[in-house]
């Protein structure tokens, strides 16, 4: 029995929800992993905020062109139909509502969809990048994250404690234990690990998990 999903498994689960023909921005780091698990037969067009649309996989080592990178500064390749544009046009795509899905990581998510993912508070160097733009404009904003912090504290909260990235912006959270939609200011549980009771999941979640209809089993292959 799986006690929690690995990051790769969370990415796999999120990838199953990518709509065919969608324009998608995968945040740097963990969310980038989603591309690897895109279901076969679906065409997804990836956007990276540094000015490339419709890029493909990483090139083989040694064949990188360092003028052809994504927002995570990783080397990429182009699909047929790719295009280049400057940063203002790139964020017009983001802010103007042209992306179907943006996926980000999170420190904390609140039940009204607030996201905190850019600052752990004073003392460090603050860095926000494109996150504050990406949380606005995309039709769906997904978060992929462990369900709890490394210390075991809930990350799905009534209110975020850390500095916010955006207000009321997250639409779905894919965690190591569950898939949770945010609707009308509430966490609505869509799927949970089959080995876990609702009470057990609720104990690891600060805000109330609503149930509307059936909660499906969150079943993910080894990846």
């Amino acid at each position: 029995m799986t006690t929690k999903l690995s990051n790769a498994q969370i990415a796999w689960r999120a990838a199953q929800d990518l709509p065919d023909g969608a324009y998608v921005n995968l945040g740097i780091g963990f969310p980038e992993m989603i591309a690897k698990f895109k279901p076969k037969g679906r065409e997804v067009i990836y956007h990276t905020e540094n000015g490339v649309l419709d890029f493909g996989e990483a090139p083989p080592a040694g064949q990188e062109d360092w003028d052809l990178i994504n927002a995570g500064k990783k080397a990429i390749t182009l699909n047929d139909g790719a295009s280049f544009f400057h940063h203002a046009d790139s964020f017009a795509m983001v802010r103007g509502g042209h992306l179907d899905v943006a996926v980000l990581g999170a420190y904390e998510i609140s039940e009204n969809g607030d996201l905190a993912n850019w600052s752990t508070g004073p003392g460090s160097v603050p860095a926000v990048g494109g996150a504050m733009d990406l949380v606005h404009g995309a039709k769906q904003v997904w978060v992929v994250t462990d369900h709890v912090t490394k210390k075991g504290a809930p990350k799905l909260l009534k209110q975020c404690r850390l500095p916010l990235t955006g207000v009321a912006c997250v639409t779905t959270v894919y965690t190591s234990l569950a898939v949770v939609d945010i609707r009308n200011g509430r966490f609505v549980l869509r799927e949970k690990l089959p080995g876990m009771s609702l009470d057990e999941l609720q104990a690891l979640t600060e805000a109330e998990l609503s149930v509307e209809g059936t909660v499906k089993d969150l079943v993910v292959p080894e990846v």
Binding site: D67, L68, H87, G129, G166
Partner: protein, 238 residues
């Protein structure tokens, strides 16, 4: 009309202490390494231009490019979205010691503020950063039931950018994702200085393919086979 400078030093003439300098490039793509390093050499030799405000998405990486400027001590303040890169020691040390300023701007807002500077738009509203610490002190307004933050244009005295092709009239193309902020910065600076990998005759580039029309460009210097910041970093340059 001939905007071609005979040397990098000529192209960089007139950059003074305290100026605001936009520098093209995102991560290691598009950084005008030769212009930057010539400016660093100039500062090391003459003590000027110092106290610069540098505008770029990042705050330097390793010891090349903007990091070299920071190590040289010629940067008073960074305006950027992401001062944490893979090796941000140059900035981080000075920042934590209180020796360098930081204006943190979300990346899309940074791009739009620079475009606004170039387009004569003194202020605009964006949803980005609404309700966050980054919006503190900025005017907020509601349009069609949603809240937005007012942001101001961003201009500079000088822009240093890297292009692929250029002609004597200042028309530019870029190479792949090295385009990023450069076309915007070219619009937003009083003096736009370009290092181009190749200088061509006017008309050699199809008018449909020019990305930055020459009206936005003041000086061009040819730097054939330019260094690529990311490649330098991976080679462990410093």
């Amino acid at each position: 009309m001939n905007k071609i400078s005979p040397s990098i030093e000529d192209a960089l003439a007139g950059i003074e202490d305290g100026m605001a300098v936009m520098i093209g490039g995102f991560g290691g793509a598009g950084a005008p390494i030769e212009l930057i390093h010539a400016l660093v050499d100039m500062y090391k030799k003459t003590g000027s231009p110092g106290s610069l405000t540098v505008i770029n998405n990042n705050a330097g990486n390793g010891a090349v490019g903007i990091a070299a400027m920071i190590y040289a001590g010629m940067v008073a303040k960074m305006v950027c979205s992401f001062p944490r890169s893979s090796d941000p020691k140059a900035f981080t040390d000075k920042y934590l010691a209180g020796e360098i300023g930081l204006e943190l701007v979300p990346q899309g807002t940074l791009a739009e503020r620079i475009r606004a500077g170039g387009a004569g738009i003194p202020a605009f509203y964006t949803p980005s950063s609404f309700g966050t610490d980054v919006a503190e002190g900025k005017p907020v307004a509601e349009f069609e039931g949603r809240s937005y933050v007012q942001e101001r244009w961003l201009k500079a005295d000088v822009a240093l950018i890297k292009a692929e092709l250029a002609d004597r009239k200042g028309n530019l193309t870029y190479r792949k994702a090295a385009r990023n902020f450069s076309p915007l910065m070219a619009m937003a600076a009083k003096t736009t200085i370009v290092q181009a990998s190749r200088i061509v005759e006017p008309g050699e580039v199809d008018p449909e393919h020019i990305v930055t029309p020459g009206i936005f460009v003041n000086r061009v210097v040819e730097v054939a086979n330019p260094q690529q910041e990311e490649a330098l970093l991976r080679e462990g340059a410093n």
